[in-house]
Amino acid sequence: MSQDMHRENLSALMDGEASELDSRRLLRDADGDDAGRWSRWHLARDVMQGHDVTPAPADFASRLCAGLDGEQRERQQASWLANLSRVGIAASVAMAMVLGWQYMGQGDSGATPQVVQGDARMSRLFTGTELVGADFSTAARPASGVAAPAQAVEPRIEHLMVRHSDFAARQGGQGPVPFVRYISMDANKDAK
């Protein structure tokens, strides 16, 4: 692929216009230059669009590279954080891989967390929300459409969730919002 075309594809990825296939290939082949380019372009766009610019952590680009690198040799990485780090990186750059809660613990791929495509972001449902950044949700949407509403939730996860919600609600910053998250999970699970 020529350098120009590569940059064009990277730009399309940033604008949410890259196809799923292109996104995956770009992620696979991205190098250190791409990481630098990615953060410079984001910064430039944010400034141009008059958005508040929140500086990325100093080591963001190197962590992105490490994460992308890790993508290729994940099996060699014995560290128990390797997979988490990969997940963190992917989410940081708003990639198509969005984790679905409903897939918790149902994986069959050994110690590797299930990384699934799904639409965990609200994007086009509403008008009035300023949507900054790329909308990957369309490209990432599974062929079957939206995720099935009812999914099994382990009792253990329910307990962690309700205890966390209680701690969070006691902070009071957002009133009942933490409990709302828990109730919506409880109501949308499979009946026990």
Binding site: L84, W101, T112, R121, A134, Q174
Partner: protein
């Protein structure tokens, strides 16, 4: 402080909704109003492709705070709060009940909202809007770093109650949205409006003293926290017979909780899940020859969870720190 806020509230109510207040004090007033106002309303809660309609009733009767959240569509699930008692009514009609002693001091909360939030977030007025047929102030709560999410909040101009909220990632994408469609201030509510329904079976999440359990609970010591995060609570509870230790942290708006539990004979594998803004990470670790599951649940970006895990120190309570 309480009297001061009350008179400030009165002053605003008398002088009408056009008063332009400091955004930060609006936020402090919201925290106060969410606790002390009686209200009943319906709202839509959405994240991803999932959408829920809920009803809320909230009142303080004889000095006790009552709250009832009811899931209106799909399966019935409810959460009822009587002061420090939390009752979860599940879709299969079973109930989980637990106590939360040591209610946070409201004045401490006010002080926290007034003092701490400016350090970690910039709060800006973003104009006026209408939500649920009511005039609202819109606030943008912009995080000062990438370790936490941002928020857009719509506050009722007359009551300061939260009418709408969005949690935003650092690209400004909404990860969840809560929006009232109707709200009634100071409705007539009695204790009977917060009664728990008859139930099939009940389980509790009892707090445990460390000496009672045969399994030794794990002590969690995060060596790294994002700026502004402080411990917001800790306890150990029995879940299905296992002591699960929790330590929660908050910066006043965002929270995450660390959990540790002995696995004994159970099998569990590393996993990562996400629901709207909520991240759940579980890692299986070995400590003193035994296996433990360490989890983080919270509304923080994945990179924050990663850093917290990287700095996490584990030790066995009541034993040598190996």
């Amino acid at each position: 402080m309480r009297a001061g806020l009350a008179s400030l509230f009165l002053l605003t109510a008398l002088s009408g909704p056009a008063v332009a207040d400091e955004p930060v004090s609006l936020l402090a007033r919201m925290g106060e109003a969410m606790e002390n106002t009686s209200y009943r309303g319906r709202f839509v809660y959405q994240h991803g492709a999932e959408s829920s309609t809920l009803e809320i009733a909230h009142a303080t009767i004889d000095g006790i705070e009552y709250e009832r959240l009811t899931h209106l569509d799909g399966q019935l699930a409810e959460l009822i709060r009587h002061g420090d008692q939390v009752i979860c009514v599940h879709p299969d009609k079973t109930i989980t009940r637990f106590a939360r002693p040591g209610e946070a001091n409201p004045l401490a909360l006010q002080a926290r909202l007034a003092r701490q939030i400016p350090e970690q977030y910039r709060v800006k007025r973003a104009g006026d809007d209408r939500v649920a047929g009511r005039s609202a102030w819109q606030l943008d709560v912009v995080p000062a770093d990438n370790w936490r999410f941002g928020y857009r909040l719509w506050l009722d101009q007359s009551s300061s109650l939260l009418l709408k909220s969005e949690t935003l990632d650092h690209n400004g994408m909404a990860l969840e949205r809560l929006e009232y469609v109707s709200l009634e201030i100071s409705p007539v509510l009695a204790v009977s409006d917060f009664a728990a329904p008859a139930n099939a079976a009940e389980q509790s999440l009892p707090m445990v003293e460390q000496a009672v359990v045969s399994e030794r609970p794990v002590r969690l010591e995060p060596r790294w926290l994002p700026a502004g995060f402080r411990e917001a609570g800790a306890d150990t509870r029995l879940e299905q017979g296992y002591p699960v230790t929790a330590r929660s942290y908050s910066d006043g708006l965002a929270s995450f909780t660390l959990f540790a539990e002995p696995l004994a004979e159970r099998t569990m594998r590393d996993s990562v899940g996400r629901r709207g803004p909520t991240l759940l990470v579980t890692r299986v670790v070995e400590l003193g020859g035994d296996r433990f599951a360490v989890s983080l649940v919270g509304e923080v970006p994945p990179a924050t969870a990663e850093q917290v895990f990287a700095g996490l120190q584990l030790s066995l309570a009541g034993g040598s720190d190996d």
